[in-house]
């Protein structure tokens, strides 16, 4: 049978503009139940910067996820409503839309749509409840029309808020770091950055290569390009635990209920990492130098510490090189474009980011 209609979708595709550059990385997987639209993204952006979602209208998503810090906040653990300290460090959101495995340090949210439900009701974050937040949105002059444009009717509920926030966060795309530009042949590394790149990717392993014999820093096993995470859970040796029950924060283990997962956290993406200090799930390291010292030491013992975390024997120059390479993951254009937009939005929302 001739199924002529099977070509219809292709005909539509033929009308879409070809993208200018070849793909640097696999496309974002847009969920079927929440396709991104211009109106949805605009609404999501507005919600992200609007403290209206918090109990006393003082805290917005952007209070902790600050565009000028690649959507991290510069504090060891996040500070929410009334300055209440949380328990974990705020991760940056660079390229978060590309993560199709669960989110958070411990993977307890399946996707961006589900994640957005968490902060509103968390006491040390936005400190309220969804019914209250939805009521505040419904009472505002502007949101009804924005929801109608984004979703076809002015009804407001937590799921629509989550969908819009997810759509906005899928636009937080960075592909213009020096690392990307070097890959595209538009820039070259300094000697120090090149050495750091070689350490990060274990070039020393290649007996015929230019870096033969160089120590291997093993970073890319977990911080795998293009987003510098393989989205899996590892113990990178932060806390000593002779017994797996003794980790101060069980991390992944609290989600799976399996003691062998205690002390494991999701390998974080490292794009824009130079802007997201302090580091680790509890913000224990103030600088990238401290992070590299940690890995160079091989970390602390637990039987589930990754086999790829071991003493690296890097000298001072090699350590500096790793730090220099991590700085090449900074995408200034990303930060500038999102923080300029946010200034406008924050003024529009009539409140300042804390």
């Amino acid at each position: 049978m001739c199924r002529w209609w099977t070509i219809l979708p292709l005909l539509c595709l033929a009308c879409v503009e070809e993208s200018a550059a070849p793909a640097d990385f696999a496309a974002i997987l847009y969920p079927a139940g929440n396709p991104s639209t211009a109106a949805g993204v605009e609404l999501g952006e507005r919600l992200f910067f609007d403290p209206i979602l918090s109990a006393d209208s003082t805290v917005s998503c952007a209070s902790c996820h600050r565009p000028e810090r690649a959507f991290a906040d510069g504090t060891a653990v996040s500070l929410g409503l009334g300055g209440l300290a949380g328990t974990r460090n705020t991760p940056g959101l660079t390229n978060v839309g590309y993560f199709h495995h669960p989110l958070f340090w411990d993977g307890r949210a399946d996707n961006l749509e589900a994640q957005a439900g968490h902060p509103v009701g968390t006491p040390h974050e936005m400190g309220g409840t969804w019914p209250e937040a939805v009521a505040r949105l419904a009472a505002s002059d502007t949101y009804g029309a924005l929801f109608a444009r984004a979703f076809g009717s002015p009804d407001i509920d937590s799921s629509r808020v989550g969908h819009a926030l997810a759509q906005y966060q899928r636009t937080l795309v960075s592909r213009n770091s020096k690392y990307d530009r070097v890959r595209r042949g538009e820039a070259t590394y300094t000697a120090l950055e090149a050495l750091g790149h070689a350490l990060f990717f274990d070039f020393g392993d290649d007996p015929e290569g230019a870096y033969a014999g160089l120590p291997t820093a093993e970073c890319a096993h977990c911080h795998t390009p293009p987003h510098f995470t393989n989205q899996r859970y590892e113990n990178n040796g932060l806390d000593e635990a002779m017994d797996l029950q003794t980790f101060p924060d069980p991390g992944r283990g609290a989600v799976t209920g399996i003691p062998y997962d205690n002390g494991k956290f999701r390998n974080p993406g490292l794009r824009n990492v130079a802007l997201t200090a302090p580091y680790m799930h509890d913000g224990r390291f103030a600088t990238l130098e401290e992070v590299v010292d940690h890995y160079n030491s091989g970390g602390r013992y637990a039987e589930n510490r990754s086999a790829n975390v071991h003493p690296l024997h890097l000298d001072a120059r090699q350590k500096a090189a790793l730090v220099a390479f991590l700085h090449t993951l900074t995408d200034t254009s990303f930060v500038v474009s999102f923080s300029t937009k946010s200034d406008r939005l924050i003024e529009g929302a009539g409140a300042r980011v804390q």
Partner: protein, 252 residues
């Protein structure tokens, strides 16, 4: 854009070709292949179990995985092989996982004499970058090591206790793969699909036999043999060859 027009002219024609010579959902039968991992014959328990090693040491396995390309059933009458999967990644990485993982396929009923697959990522796919595929495709599982080293075909990671101090503090990490290492594994084991009862096939891979077997034991106590990655494939070749040679197929 300029190539699109001829393509659009061609497409309706292609659409009219008979598409499903190969698979017929009405005729085909559901067929289950179990991938089983063991250590010295015992079901593999990631992190949970402590295993002995021929050097007298003990270890806990943290990760075991391998890519399979062109998984095919071999018809008894010598007909063309039936392709079950072009590429798959078989992985044990969490204490939550069962030693046996199941995959189901639709296959034509008939008599078969066995099964064949390529261990690793076949050269035609190994030449392609992950960015060419969807983000959730098996070649986008973050196993791509770099433009020249390409995909890692198989990994074994473990923590070993080399002194008798209760500390599994020596990391062992073996990452293998290159076009030169790609191997075809054929396993003969007659079975019939369809009829009264379609059997379940179990393909077993044993981590210990990959590390130690055929009179060779990989020396995990030697510091330069504890981490084998990337370009340093020579040290890993022995593990790779033993891994490729130890698969067994059983029919139940």
């Amino acid at each position: 854009m300029k190539y699109l027009l001829p393509l659009l002219v061609l497409l309706p024609l292609l659409g009219c070709l008979d598409d499903d010579d190969q698979l017929d959902p009405l005729r085909d039968v559901q067929f289950t292949l179990n991938y089983r991992a063991t250590y010295g014959g015992d079901p593999l328990g990631i992190q949970r179990e402590t295993y002995g090693y021929p050097t007298g040491d003990s270890l806990k396995v943290l990760l075991f995985q391998y890519y399979v390309s062109d998984l095919e059933l071999l018809p008894a009458d010598g007909d063309d092989a039936v392709r079950l999967a072009e590429i798959d990644l078989i992985r044990w990485m969490s204490a939550a996982e069962d030693a046996t993982q199941q995959r189901t396929y639709l296959v034509p009923p008939g008599d078969y004499r066995g099964l064949r697959f390529g261990l690793g990522v076949k050269p035609s796919l190994n030449a392609r970058d992950p960015s060419e595929f969807a983000a959730n495709y098996v070649l986008n599982e973050a196993e791509f090591w770099g433009p020249s080293t390409r995909y890692v075909f198989a990994k074994i990671e473990a923590n070993a206790m080399l002194e008798d101090d209760g500390r599994f503090d020596t990391g062992l990490s073996y990452h293998m793969g290159s076009d030169a290492l790609y191997r075809t594994v054929s396993l003969e084991q007659p079975f019939t699909v369809g009829g009264n009862e379609t059997p379940t096939l179990t393909l077993t891979a044993d981590v210990l036999r990959a590390l130690s077997g055929n009179g060779q034991t990989f020396d995990i106590t030697s510091p330069d043999k504890q981490t084998v990655h990337g370009g340093n494939q020579e040290v890993a070749t022995g593990i790779w060859n033993r891994l490729a040679g130890q698969f067994t197929l059983s029919v139940e």
